[in-house]
Symmetry: C2
Subunit: 213 residues, 2 copies
DNA sequence: GTCTATATGCGGATAGAC
DNA sequence: GTCTATCCGCATATAGAC
């Protein structure tokens, strides 16, 4: 009964080779989650590697340094954010723009870690490279609101402020308290004008990476 | 001429002994700045020690672990925040409450790192102890707004959102761009309804701790 | 109360095989 | 393209003197 499957005779199941571009994207996606959960300094390249299903040195090899990897994560996140906003702006709808952009923003929470990684970047202004990228990206979003979406300075402020509160609620994992704490539930409802369920879905850390560290 | 001052015969100038309470407070203040600049994971106990003018092991000895130190920093910051808010609420004034609370909030920026340390805590919900403290503290502020300040849920949301944007502008060091970038200047003006100068003052890292790391 | 010296573990990065 | 093995530095924490 030990030779049931001949497939067991294959060489040690190594990872299938992948086109560099695809592998790159899958590592970036994994890194986005990990950085979102633990922050730039707190996350390890080993965690990223595990989440991406590759070896730790390979992650470093592909991006040069952990910092460069994080910068790529930030740029990718900003790109996805602006792409989503521009698509929202282009589509025709009866809903007011502010509501549509708000929904688009909250929809980004489906890509776990995306807004959180950005938030971690925003708070690391003291790091030269990360700070520069973060400031630049934030200003790009502000410029989008002012020039493309046609918002006033005050409208932009209010929109960005709501966004930062959303990020904070996610980062602080306030959704953990939703069921047990009525105050938390009220706060969450106020923070997520619509699509509250999206906030509640992204509570815990993915089981595949969480316990190992 | 070698015995001009007998005081030179003293033992190697060690640090003056201090009452435990005072030393504790001075370390907490130093830690608040360092954690604000580099985050919980990024900051080292050696940096805190240097900023406080004591040895690294002493910092650990006094607080047990780095994590416990950070938790104390968070609790201290939350305490100062609520104390400031309650004082604002108690004072009589013709100004609308929302403006006065907003000013009180921005005034906290004078205690460098205070709001920033909080922000770092808010974004680390994945850490059990830190997350718990952060959620609890955030809810305490929300409860203050709702019950003591008499805000509605929506008013509270708007206030907290503005606060999170302020925190982000400080963390990202947007003020560095104020002079050279008109867009950044406009954004900052919108983010700080009043007391913009307080935001601009807290740009760089203290010279005594920055370069060493 | 405060320090110096140090053990220990962990994480980023490199070398080199396949 | 991807891995294994490993080096090295750094940061927390401990031991113990003063």
């Amino acid at each position: 009964m030990s030779t049931v499957t001949d497939s067991a005779a294959q060489p040690p199941a190594k990872l299938a080779r992948m086109r560099s571009e695809d592998r790159r994207e899958s590592i970036l996606a994994a890194a986005t989650e990990v950085f979102g959960d633990y922050g730039y300094v707190g996350a390890t390249t080993a965690q990223v590697a595990r989440a991406a299903g590759v070896s730790q040195p390979y992650v470093v090899r592909m991006f040069g340094t952990k910092e460069k990897l994080f910068l790529e994560v930030l740029l990718r996140a900003l790109g996805l954010l602006l792409t989503s906003f521009r698509a929202t702006l282009a589509e025709e709808s009866d809903e007011p723009l502010s509501r549509r952009l708000g929904l688009a923003y909250v929809d980004l929470l489906q890509d776990r870690g995306l807004l959180l990684s950005l938030m971690h970047g925003f708070v690391l202004g003291s790091d030269p490279a990360i700070g520069e990228t973060a400031r630049c990206g934030f200003l790009e979003v502000y410029t989008f609101l002012r020039e493309e979406a046609g918002y006033s300075a005050d409208e932009s402020q209010a929109f960005l402020a709501s966004g930062m509160l959303v990020n904070t609620m996610i980062g602080i994992r306030m959704s953990d308290e939703y069921d047990s704490n009525p105050v938390a539930a009220e706060l969450l409802t106020a923070a997520f004008p619509e699509r509250l369920e999206l906030a509640l879905g992204s509570g815990a850390v993915d089981a595949s990476t969480a316990p190992q560290k």
